[in-house]
Symmetry: C2
């Protein structure tokens, strides 16, 4: 008898599969206010690991954490013209505080360029204060009309970096450093997602930026997801907030700035990149539970052994969860760990103990076989490394197999609508072609150079546009 599937199969209805998985793997729930989200402990555990790893990389890049207020005076937003135009439709506005109507309404931060520049303009006095490299971990609010858990939520969690530099070159290089050495390295090496680094077209740029660098990934259904962006802000905010410094030569100069962000959307990317019809598959380097050691039955010897092996594996540096909840049927627990995407299950019952073995079940590579108990410490780290690589390989292979080189706008649209990525010379598409693609809900995800590097300008020779539908 075939089991009823736990999740709607991907092939049947990908968005429904996604929603099912988020729900059944206990990653998140919808919040009571439209578009908001409750991140459940298992989902938040993934976010905590992302934070820890990224925070280290950000600090190694010289930035320090700080915290700026949630509430921004409405007037700040309007100082940078493009910025306010970009964000005005998404703002949440507080009109009452402490039982009274406020004299000036305040907005809940959609991003913090404006309020941070207000302080940069006070803190930066001389060239000695530069570069000023600040990051914050915070919640932001952008009112969302078509919310989807993790991907588009009215409130989300993120880190936002904000920096000020003495020269254009220094700012440009720092934005590029974050783009490649922090974001791309993290997404590739830890999330095991084969992201494509590129630059956004003028149309897709961050509101207020002179250049937006992006990382785009292909999801399981062939659509693109923007994974993180790093912006060169030029002197736009510096002008609006008068953020200047006294140069070595004794002249008052405007600073050059960057900002860069990555969000809880990365959890959605993880799901849609690595998930399958049985649930999530978490890359071992990210996983806060890499191995679950399960007692099949509530036999005292088994439970004692399971705990002992849990301790041994923990001592060996593996992140382990012991599952000895034997009052819940084994099958139900196994399905749950599979749904949650724990890379390896070590299953132990009375018969295994007699043989001195455990069943090792692999969520990522697949397969299940008996392993001698005293061989686990040596074997598991190897399996986990293999699994990590396999996920990245699968991510790359999907992107490659579903990407087509095309020559015309029509072909590009056809590929994108069919669930793939099209590569087309930007010179053959251009801003007009980009507009036309928009009519079919297709967009230019990013511009790349022929050799896979990031072009220095939109019109650099050999620039290729990656065209796709996107989340």
């Amino acid at each position: 008898m075939a089991k009823a599937p736990v999740l709607t199969p991907q092939a049947e209805d990908f968005p429904r599969w996604y929603q099912d998985l988020i729900n059944k793997a206990e990653l998140a729930d919808n919040g009571p206010v439209r578009g908001t989200m409750v991140i459940r402990p298992y989902g938040y555990g993934l976010w905590e690991r992302m934070q820890q790893d990224m925070d280290l990389r950000i600090k190694e890049s010289g930035a320090q954490n700080a915290y700026f207020p949630l509430f921004i005076p409405q007037s700040y937003l309007t100082r940078e013209a493009e910025h306010v135009e970009g964000f005005a439709p998404e703002l949440a506005v507080v009109t009452h505080g402490g039982g009274k109507q406020l004299e000036e309404p305040v907005v809940v931060r959609p991003t913090s360029e404006t309020i941070i520049n207000e302080y940069f303009s006070k803190w930066v006095q001389s060239y000695r204060d530069l570069p000023l490299l600040i990051n914050q971990w915070a919640n932001v609010v952008r009112w969302e009309m078509r919310p989807r858990l993790f991907l588009r939520t009215s409130e989300f969690l993120w880190q936002e970096g904000h920096t000020a530099h003495a020269t254009y070159e220094d700012a440009r290089d720092y934005a590029a450093h974050i783009h490649r050495n922090v974001y791309e390295a993290f997404m590739r090496d830890v999330l095991a997602i084969d992201v494509v680094p590129g630059r956004k077209t003028a149309k897709e740029r961050f509101a207020g930026a002179i250049n937006t660098l992006t990382l785009e990934a292909m999801m399981g259904d062939g659509k693109a997801l923007q994974m993180g962006t790093s912006h060169e802000l030029g002197q736009n905010f510096a002008k609006a907030f008068d953020t200047t410094y006294l140069s070595k030569e004794g002249k008052q100069e405007l600073v050059w700035q960057t900002s860069w962000g990555s969000t809880t959307r990365m959890i959605g990317a993880l799901v849609m990149s690595h998930g399958d019809d049985n649930g999530l598959r978490v890359p071992p380097r990210l996983a806060h539970i890499q191995v679950v050691v399960m007692a099949i039955k509530g036999d005292d010897t088994v439970v004692a052994k399971v705990r002992e092996i849990g301790d041994r594996l923990t001592a060996a540096g593996i992140r382990v969860k012991v599952d000895d909840r034997t009052d819940t049927p084994f099958g139900r627990r196994a399905v749950d760990w599979e749904l949650k995407g724990i890379p390896v299950r070590v299953e132990i019952g009375p018969r295994d103990l007699e043989n001195g073995t455990a069943m090792v079940a692999r969520r990522i590579a697949g397969g299940k076989e008996p392993v001698a108990l005293d061989a686990l410490e040596a074997l598991l780290p190897k399996l986990l490394e293999e699994d990590q690589e396999l996920l990245l390989t699968q991510s790359r292979e999907r992107r490659e197999s579903r990407t087509s080189e095309v020559a015309t706008l029509e072909e590009a649209a056809e590929v994108a609508v069919g669930g793939g990525w099209a590569r087309i010379p930007w010179a053959d598409l251009g801003p007009e072609g980009e507009e036309k693609l928009g009519e079919q809900s297709v967009s230019v995800r990013c511009l790349v150079a022929e050799d896979g590097s990031v072009p220095v300008a939109d019109d650099a020779p050999g620039t290729v546009a990656i065209v796709a539908r996107s989340y």
Copy 2:
């Protein structure tokens, strides 16, 4: 010639000294919206260390982190009558989102009992789901009429724990565990603040709780500061949100709950507990910079040596900052590190190098003397441990020397108004006496037992009230 003091002396004007210190040690700035705060990198570094340490203790207590939405439907607040009465005057209300007026206004969370109970009521089904132990690190907003940086801000950062239990006893014991084994242990062992654990009187209880446990500390001016609270919520929120579970016996029962919080206010406590006329003094176990190694002059040999020693001390497990910014005068840098309260400065100039020594200046114990360079690794950890203990001793001695046993309400008020703590039998004061004290801005900070333990009830025999002015 006497130097002009960097800070207003404590004895002259304590609140002004506090404000000066926060500003000059670069801990925080006032935000643009009244009552909000910008936490600068040095101040945020203190908070990060607090978070790391507390988070570990919270996880060891079995709680898992999660994240609930910032926005709460206004109607949720009103479901628990005392709760809404307590918080209504402090709410920030969002009336517009995405360019439209909202059908139901939403409040920015002042605390999350209501929204969390909405989900607990879905997640908790059977006794197997209990206890449910959740914590979140988040920002909250309580509109503040008389803001003061870190102590009272309209937005602050905190952790809030929320738990559900099958029995009254289990909830009570968990609230007590957090109170003593997490909060008190952290504040005493890491913050080096001699906190007093006690229970709040009915008047001072959290809105919606049946019992509030508190930790009170004496600040440098003899006033009290509430450092953290742990509440038994009884079944108040469970009733309001219908949070029930199926018991082993197959009956539907209401859960018993706790909540507990500690905030960025602890940074203010640190300043007012350990600060002196030269600035902050950071307990070494908390300090993210324990030792600063300073180059006195920009001599190449000196700078190289300073960096080498920095690396050596880092390798020895000390949290070190190398200060080789020799284009800024040495004296100004030394005053800055003193202001910031770095426990130990290792100062190295050309003459020290000739002698193979460094000057070791101690911010907490005081004094400055030459130490052989190769003796630093062995010596510094000892000095840091001494400093940690000294701060706790000074905190305890201040509290003891400024606490008086009194017999009447009048005496209690006199002690409190004079900048001390009064201890008076609760049976002699009672709720009526408590009301009268309020007229002189004096309050009962907490109730303690004669042996220093926490009384099991307000009217337990031998209960003593601690009476003081407070922040």
